[in-house]
């Protein structure tokens, strides 16, 4: 087992990792930028090394400084947390070269899953359902017709050189396909100088449901069930829950098995998440795989009663997993509290927290790095706390979240607590009736 782990991150996740390390008897090294001198993770670690000025590029993303910090503290492993260097294959490689264990995926794994096209191919080979689509550029309208018929309507025509929604057409039936094909190509040519098109099945009313997996060095993998992360604004998750209100035992088995196939086919080691889009027919399609611990991991921990960071460290140390899958025994919800003003388009509001009182009591968990008189630096992401509730039923978990949010006092800055309070009262949310389109029509 590792003797000393350097945590190459900041904020709540750094604190989260330090806590588990303390329980495991592993010494901890915090690294921090000048802007984070008074940060909680710096105080809780056994040692701390300043690694650069405020800018992330010169501190938390500064590979030479982080490796040097590991060297002077004699750390035998580095935990990258999430974000920053967690899925940087170069960093993973450099750790290997410096004989420091990177608690995350191998460089090959990170690159394999980072490239969307190759990840899709890998999943296809493993028998994981992927979004049906054309292979490469569509050579002619005739081919376009054939592919569309094979995939089944509705389909999306997309410009290969495309972006910003240009050169995209949503086609519901064959009768309008030719018109769509011609106009999309014309628009694409005008905007990008390239009229090459490809096609993908249009997923109606998709839900974002991901499966937590864990794999060990012996090539064995297991799944720890799903998390529903459909409540998103501009592709940023706001709240998550497990089990998904849309899940069935059958679907969980199918998705879980697919995720395990994905993990075992690449001999995945460590914790990872396979993200799927699930349509209204409960057909699921591979979206992407994240080769790191995720922000929303606490809800899985609460319903299956496992410390995922501990499992991650154990696997990295070469310990085998039991191979058992886990289903949720309880219901958990997480609300991400950001230093943003939900009444003003979620504008970021860094600054001094003058008053701070976190909720508590049965079934409440707070993962946070902030405290009263803490100055939120403007250089990093705006998340200041995660409120997690767990209860025997979904209704009770929502009730606990309402109670917790009412108790939560953060003064001096604006937070998204009012948004989450509205979310918990929202009829569609309470019915479990929401997709990734939910935030488009949500009003504060």
């Amino acid at each position: 087992m590792f003797k000393k782990i350097l945590i190459a991150n900041r904020g709540e996740i750094a604190l989260r990792i330090i806590r588990t390390c303390k329980e495991m008897g592993i010494k901890t090294v915090a690294v921090y930028s000048k802007a984070d001198t008074d940060s909680l993770h710096v105080r809780f670690a056994d040692e701390a090394v300043c690694i650069g000025p405020a800018a992330s590029s010169e501190s938390y993303l500064n590979i030479p400084n982080i490796i040097a910090a590991a060297e002077i503290t004699n750390s035998d492993a580095i935990h990258p947390g999430y974000g920053f260097l967690a899925e940087n294959s170069n960093f993973s490689k450099i750790c290997n070269e410096n004989h420091i264990k990177f608690i995350g995926a191998s460089p090959k794994m990170i690159d394999g899953m980072g490239d969307k096209a190759s990840a899709k191919e890998t999943m296809k080979k493993a028998g994981v359902p992927t979004i049906p689509g054309s292979v490469g550029i569509i050579p002619s309208f005739k081919e376009c017709q054939k592919i569309a018929a094979k995939i089944g309507y509705p389909i999306m025509l997309k410009a290969t050189a495309g972006g910003g929604g240009k050169g995209m057409r949503l086609v519901w039936e064959e009768a309008v396909l030719e018109d769509a094909w011609n106009s999309a190509r014309k628009e694409s040519k005008a905007a990008f100088g390239n009229n090459g098109m490809y096609m993908e099945k249009f997923i109606e009313d998709p839900r974002h449901i991901e499966i937590q997996i864990i794999g060990d060095s012996k090539g064995q993998a297991a799944h720890l069930s799903e998390r529903d992360c459909s409540i998103q604004r501009r592709h940023q998750k706001l709240a998550e829950e497990t089990p998904s209100p849309f899940m069935t035992k059958k679907l969980r088995k199918e998705m879980g098995d697919a995720a395990i196939r994905a993990a075992e086919s690449v001999k995945y080691e460590g914790v990872g998440t396979v993200e799927f889009l699930v349509d209204k027919h409960r057909d699921f399609y591979f979206m992407e795989m994240n080769t790191r611990i995720q922000v929303e991991h606490p809800i899985t921990e609460e319903v299956i009663d496992y410390d995922l960071i501990k499992e991650q460290i154990k696997v990295a140390a070469g310990i085998e997993i039991s191979g058992k899958n886990h289903e949720p025994k309880l219901h958990a919800i997480e609300c991400r509290i950001n230093a943003e003003d939900p009444e003003n388009d979620f504008r970021p509001c860094p600054g001094l927290i003058t008053n701070f009182h976190a909720p508590g009591g049965h079934g409440i968990r707070i993962d946070t790095h902030v405290y009263a008189n803490y100055m939120i630096p403007p250089f990093y992401d705006s998340m200041i706390a995660k409120v997690i509730t767990v209860a025997q039923t979904r209704e009770e978990a929502i009730g606990k979240m309402e109670r917790a949010l009412d108790e939560f006092i953060v003064e001096g800055i604006k937070t998204t607590i009012p948004f989450h309070q509205k979310l918990m009262k929202n009829e569609d949310f309470r019915k479990g009736n929401y997709t990734t389109k939910f935030m488009e029509t949500f009003e504060m």
């Binding site: 915090a30 056994d46 040097a68």
Partner: protein
């Protein structure tokens, strides 16, 4: 000496930055050792050994405090701070721009690159910071006189850690 006095003493020693203190007050011998460089956020590991002889402690002890032994550079810093003149505010502190092990000379056999009192020119090598098996020669960005060496030889240093105090005049 009662427990409260000893606690106050330990706090005082920690604040002073001294690394080793040996005291003998009446029949009580106190030895306090703390690590040479405390990084911010690092938990203070102060080893305190208190030996009390069985003899009764006198109510109002006459405290005889021998000179405090400590790292000369730190001591120099504190005495200078006491006798600070307006000149000190014009001094420049050269800080580390990288992380690694600080060496004052090219090798253990070689003399230090610079010593207190030396005049240095911009671009002159002041020290070495070693990281990942690479020895980086750190060049001065200013010219002037070395007033103080603020880091110990062969110790780990972090970003922005003060290395040298220079009088640029």
């Amino acid at each position: 000496m009662d427990l409260k006095d000893i606690q106050e003493l330990i706090k005082f020693v920690a604040k002073s930055g001294a690394t080793e203190v040996d005291l003998e007050i009446d029949n009580v011998k106190i030895s306090i050792k703390s690590p040479p460089k405390k990084k911010r956020g690092e938990v203070d590991e102060i080893t305190t050994i208190i030996q009390q002889t069985p003899a009764q402690v006198v109510a109002a002890p006459q405290a005889v405090v021998p000179p405090v032994t400590s790292n000369t550079d730190t001591l120099a810093t504190s005495t200078n701070a006491d006798s600070s003149t307006s000149d000190e505010t014009d001094y420049i502190t050269i800080k580390a721009s990288m992380i690694g092990t600080f060496y004052r000379s090219l090798s253990p056999e070689d003399p230090p690159f610079v010593n207190v009192g030396d005049t240095i020119k911009e671009g002159e090598t002041l020290c070495i910071i070693e990281a990942m098996k690479l020895f980086n020669e750190i060049e001065s960005e200013v010219s002037g006189k070395i007033i103080k060496v603020l880091a110990d030889d062969s110790t780990p240093i972090e970003f922005d850690q003060p290395l040298f105090l220079v009088d640029p005049s």
